[in-house]
């Protein structure tokens, strides 16, 4: 029976991590997500499940602790915000290259540089293009509520271990800080050594306690042919993610003439815009991607038969809009509206932009 609580997004994420049976959290303070580690430290999950919580000396150290733990087949995670995620990108590229399952939360704040501490969605490109160096993708989940901040932890671990790949949860300062009702799942027990052996015994480095050949965790392949094989193997995973684990939500799209495409906080605000628009007789609906990679390319292309135009609403200067344009292959107009600097757009502003750029245009 799920437990109902009123919680902050960051705290719900932390509590959900404990209940998902995570083995370890390694993090570093940065606004607006420090509540994740503060909650975990206060909660002392080592007494509840034996989960390790460690404040690392930097975001760089934290992502490498995640790499070490993931390499041993454990469920490990970290969290940070934009500048800290930039620091982690080398480690994230290594996680992808070494094919390690891990969960990383980015509670996005305004950037670039030190930026602001207020919400933003300006890390979209960084997230969906992998972020770090090399040919790889991250599976990216975008929560739009405190409930999803909690639910996506387990979902992320499931995906991470299904594919042996790192998963990024792309939240933002608004979702991280706001308080909402959340249903928390029952405690899932942490994996036993036997379960880890069964699930990951062919690759994880936990000591050869069952007499097997040694396992090696590495992303290095100096022979080009082997490297090519490795990269192709990664690409096959991403193709499978697109085929099997794409997630999106549609709100009032059945009769829509126009679509607002938005994720996270923008999607929440846009719901009010839809209400206001329909009062004025504008039939608009929302396509809310839940995964940003994989991206709902097929659905978008289908929609070009019905929809006259799409407004991409993002808390940035225009990032997801490019992916929408690619997906619809210029068949219909696609425009962007966004506020930046940590300023949140209002439903009325979005409606105005929709009318100006899409309905009239």
């Amino acid at each position: 029976m799920a437990e109902l609580k009123l919680m902050k997004g960051n705290e719900a994420f932390a509590e959900a991590a404990i209940r998902a049976g995570a083995d370890g959290y390694f993090g570093y303070p940065i606004t607006p997500q420090s509540e994740v580690i503060e909650y975990l430290m206060a909660e002392r999950p080592e007494n509840r499940t034996g989960m390790v919580v460690l404040q690392a000396e930097s975001e760089v150290a934290a992502i490498n602790m995640v790499y070490g733990g993931a390499g041993a087949g454990k469920k490990v995670l970290t969290s940070s915000s934009s500048p800290g995620i930039s620091l982690k990108l080398e480690g994230i590229s290594y996680l992808a290259g070494a094919e390690l399952p891990a969960v990383i939360l980015n509670v996005v704040r305004g950037g670039p540089g030190l930026g602001t501490i207020q919400p933003s969605q300006a890390d979209y490109n960084q997230a969906v293009k992998g972020g770090g160096h090399g040919d790889y993708q991250l599976y990216v989940l975008a929560p739009a509520s405190v409930q999803e901040m909690a639910d996506f932890v387990e979902d992320a671990f499931d995906i991470a271990f299904k594919y042996r790949a790192p998963v990024l949860i792309l939240s933002d300062g608004l979702i991280g800080q706001m308080m909402e009702k959340v249903y928390l799942k029952d405690q899932k027990p942490r994996w036993t050594d036997e379960e880890i052996n069964k699930m990951s015994g062919d690759w994880a480095t936990y000591g050869r306690t069952d007499g097997r050949e040694r396992n090696i965790i590495t992303s290095l392949d100096l022979k080009s042919e082997k490297m090519e094989e490795r990269v192709h193997r990664l690409q096959a995973k991403y193709k499978q993610m697109e085929d099997e684990d794409l997630r999106f939500e549609e709100i009032q799209t059945e009769d829509a003439d126009y679509i607002i495409m938005a994720y996270g906080s923008s999607a929440r605000i846009a719901q009010k815009t839809v209400e206001l628009a329909r009062e004025k007789g504008i039939k608009v609906g929302i396509l809310r991607p839940i995964t940003l990679f994989p991206f709902p390319k097929k659905r978008l292309m289908e929609m070009t038969k019905q929809i006259k135009g799409i407004l991409s609403v993002e808390l940035n200067m225009g990032q997801m809009v490019d992916d929408i344009r690619l997906a619809v292959e210029h068949k219909i107009p696609v425009e962007h509206f966004g506020r930046t600097g940590g300023i949140i757009h209002t439903p009325e502003e979005i409606l105005e932009a929709l009318e100006e750029k899409i309905v009239k245009g």
Partner: protein, 259 residues
Amino acid sequence: MDIKDIIKPENQVYAKTKLMTDNELSYCPGCGHGTAHRLMMEVVDEMGIADKTVGVAPVGCSVLAYDFMNVDMQQAAHGRAPALATALNRLMPDKYVFTYQGDGDLAAIGTAETIHACNRGENILIVFINNGIYGMTGGQMAPTTLPNMKSSTSPHGRDVSTMGSPIKMTELISNLPGVYSVSRHAVHTPKHVRKTKKAFQKAFKDLELKKGLVFIEIVSNCNSGWKMRPVESNIWLEDNMLPFYELGDIKVDGKLIQK
């Protein structure tokens, strides 16, 4: 007696441990890495803990250590091995976790990770191979390059006024309470090899006590980087490296050795 009568299985007194794989070492002829690897694996083998040992390999010449050490190994990003080892130790406290790092890895890019793992007293063994140069990338200056020593990025000799003095990481971290044992060794002569093997034996045993971090520095040669023949480089090591990086125990059983 004929040699054929001596070379019989029952007369064998030494062979390379099976915990070194049969792969040909990628190290230059004469490089101390090979010796250091073999000593560690010998000790792990003799203690019967291969199945409970996980090693973390660095970036540097020994990035391929996992091709040679026959235990579960993880390859770490440059400098980050102590972070990986921290997680391994915290998540699997009953395993023997070691890092094997070069001077750039441990004392340049990895300085923070080294110091903080030491400060937290992680129950791991850090093995620090110090040859005062960056071998893998072609012989550049390292934080441990000696004053006036030539390298590809200090072609006129290390000028301490602009490039800083060499860092003695080993002495630096020995002051941290989380560090249980610190010592400095060499592997270029049989006498040194025997002493270093004893040090590794104590090190792995010390991990069982769970009293803190164990740190072993091995001052080694890099004949390619130093542009010498192997035997010559070992003489240069004795004449130049060892007077600066003094061998011996620095901290034993949690107590600093008073000199």
